[in-house]
């Protein structure tokens, strides 16, 4: 598997650390309540199909990336800098 890092280009997946769903970008306010925090920290979808994950280019530029990919075909559809995605959220 290869990931197209927006900064470094196409790289082998061994250079990347896998974190989990990109919902981690959406940190609730401290007073958002139990349900919001439970969901943020613990609850994850397990889709057969498209998923958005956070990967860290640990063996490269150190960028956190939002990778949109398919868990069935393993196709990687899109790779974005997490800072860009987060920046667009606020």
């Amino acid at each position: 598997m290869r990931i197209e890092c927006p900064i470094c280009g196409s790289r082998d997946r061994r250079e990347f650390y896998y974190q989990g769903a990109a919902v981690a970008l959406d940190r609730p306010a401290p007073d958002a309540g139990e349900a919001a925090w439970d969901s943020y920290v613990h609850l994850r979808e397990n889709p057969a199909g498209e998923t958005r994950d956070l990967w860290h280019h640990e063996g490269g530029c150190g960028s956190w990336l939002v990778v949109t990919r398919d868990t069935v075909t393993h196709a990687v559809h899109k790779v974005e800098l997490a800072s860009d995605v987060k920046g667009a959220m606020s």
């Binding site: 401290p30 393993h74 920046g87």
Partner: protein, 978 residues
Amino acid sequence: MRIDGKGLIDRSKPLSFSFDGKSYRGFAGDTVASALLANEVKLMGRSFKYHRPRGALTAGSEEPNALITVGKGAQQDPNVRATVQELYEGLVTRSQNAWPSLDFDVMAVNDLAAPFLGAGFYYKTFMWPKKFWEAVYEPIIRNAAGLGALGGATNEDDYERAYAYCDLLVIGAGPTGLMAALTAARSGADVILADEDAVMGGRLNAETGKIGHQSGAAWAAEVLAELGAMDNVRLMTRTTVTGAYDGGMYGALERVNHHTGKRGGGAPMETFWRISTKQAILAAGAIERPVAFRNNDRPGIMTASAVRSYLNRWGVSPGKSVTVFGNNDDAHRTALDLSAAGVRVAALIDSRHDAAIEGADFPVYTGAEVCNTGGRKELESITIRTTSGEQSIQTDCLAMSGGWNPTVHLTCHMNGRPTWRPDIQAFVPTEGMIPDMTVAGACNGTFSTHGCLQDGAEAAKTALAALGKKPADVALPEAEDAPYTLSPLWAVAGKGRAWLDFQNDVSVKDVKQAATENFRSVEHMKRYTTQGMATDQGKNSNVGALAVLADATGRGIPETGTTTFRPPYSPVAIAAMGAGAQGKGFAPQRMTTSHKASLRMNAPMIEAGLWYRPSYFPKSGETNWRQSCDREVGYVRNAVGVCDVSTLGKIDIQGPDAAALLDFCYTNMFSTLKEGRVRYGLMLREDGYVLDDGTCARLGENHYVMTTTTAAAGLVMRHLDFVTQCLHPEWQVSFTSVTEQWAQFAVAGPKSRELLNRLLETEIDNESWPFMACGPAKISGVDGRLFRISFSGEHAYEVAVPARYGAALFDLLVERANQMGGGAYGMEALNVLRIEKGFLTHAEIEGRATAFDIGMQGMMSQKKDFIGKTMAARPGLVDEDRPQLVGLKPVGAVKKLTAGAQLYPQGADAVANNLEGHISSVGFSPDVGTFIGMGFLKRGRDRMGEVIRMVDHVRGLETDVEVCNTVFVDQEGERVRG
């Protein structure tokens, strides 16, 4: 028998080699199999289960029978296919799976017991009694299992891993692959052409048909010469593409030096490649399948195409009087080629009544079948059944063909299933199974040479279009375009054992029995009979076996389906896949600048993550590590000790929002920290548990240096990256790891300041440099940093200099410390010193501990948000019933404590229900005079003075321990400020 004037071997280069101790002659270009056949040696191995005599069935990597061992001792290489191993001068080979000799094999008695050893024998026999399994059955099975064996000694041969990148990977260099590579290369694509054979060309080297005006082999050589001269082409011979993976990744095994037998000189034996390509063309060809009939496994019986290969490529006739048996026109070529080469063809037997053959000057039997064979260690005769009855024909070689199976394997490596094509009675790849792969030629069911050339050119155009390149105009040379017709023939009816899987000794009867016993699914049949396992993975037998299964279960072949194809396509040595990862290659080694000095002082080094650190520094006269450790603890408590602490993570953080970042990552405040001061900080994970701890120094208004634990340095770096990129990209802050840029040494003990003042440009005192002060300092003329921090509870400093001065400074500090009654101390002493003071490591903050558990709930600021704050407040994480950090000392008869031991209340049984905690760290304290420890105990902080049970189930140790404060030495904490 060698045939004059035929073959691509170099007759000017004779070579000698040995097989089972006997010397033979061959030529450059021979394989072991072709050379043995030229020497009229047909018996090359014994079958796995029944030890039946076997010879080469094929002429390629799919060979199930002719497995040999190459070399001796540590370099011994088992299960090498004789059909693949190239000849070199002095090559030593041996047969396998036979004792005392290949000619007389005692285990052949299994063959007589065959009626009892059929499918499912193991499952039915080795069931009971239960206690027999380990004592009797397993040793017997293990002894009989396996084929060749390794030498037993460590093999020092070199293997390598490598990476390659290209626009187009062409897999297979037969007519299809060559035409595809030529078209793509002339169009300017970066092409890798990989082929498992030593000579590229595929079937072109084994057939007599012409391409244009020249032989197929000559055309292939011409194309290869052109490709070889192009900068955008890489030709990889002896390279098997073993697997197709996600994102255009392919695994490939290159056999670099097996054909020379040479060692050293920089070349490995094998290289395992990871090839990353934008497009791929699979031109893997097809494999001819045998026909099942009684005794179809005698040495001398092989596939029709193999006989043609031996004749045309290696100039060898595997027999003097050859018979050919098939169900298709392609088999006729074998008879015609042999006859044209002057070899006697005793008969051509075609199962089809309507078969027609032109130019045959040998007996032809149509509508006939071979139903039995004679001979023991070699084929002597066959029995054929025609409409007029059975008759025997004397023959020493039978060429058989049940048709061709396209080599679909790679197309199924990403969970694809092949499609059944009734017209060719074979499975072909289902389209689109591997993204960006085009399948062409024989592996797609196109069998004529013309069709393959055309397919290859078309596939190249498809790939070029995807690459955005304009295809060059490449003229298609003329070649034969014979139609491929056959009628199904899987197994000839009759009594006796008709073999399907030669490697695993699976017969038609076994498959039928599996069906009878309701193992009707093809996956069940495979496991029950072992069909399709071992080195050939059923390349010769899968389709035949499932045709028999389909017949036995009354289903069609496509409904019966195939088993799963998995990488690798052919066997890959673990040595190649794991190349470079043995010994020191297993993990990177990180050394501190004092590493050499530690070795010079005879310190045993221990691993801390990837780092190597000294355990202790033995002095002469000391007989065990405890003596060294106690002495080193004394240095720090009474004089001055020096320890390399460079392995702790150091992260340099700068920018206007540096303070905001630290306030958000630590539970306590850092924005309020004064410049020139250090503070201890605690970090949580977002789920509320402790992530790491360490000190952080403020060097300037917008400049901090964070230290992390050695183990968590990478983790914390990633965490900071996450916070600044994923949660707060708006912050103006940047940071970088400087762990390796600074060498840092702890100088600890009552005489630490005295030592430092002899080296510092500006002397320090308690006013100018109080506890937790930090700042730049010039030490022995070098610009460094000085931190007054302590991990021992003593008056102590850490001094940092650029790494290039580390070795010199360490030597200097140790020398001065020695003069003052102190010296270097290692990890053992460091551990005792911190346990005596109740300081934490990852033995305590091991991922399950909360700030509450370790008594640091007071460090969680109420004034700000920080990572983990909300979740750490969950009731379950601050429950008084949780195990809490306490000190422990032994009060029973046994004065020893062990880390990992479990804690139970007095008088309670040491069982899970009564468990109240565990010991996390222990050490022998010279100050206290016994072992002391830290551990987690339910409601521990309320139980000071209580005596409880420590039980170490693993080491068989038990004692009574008293719960106490975690600080054993200088409880008032005065020394650190002295």
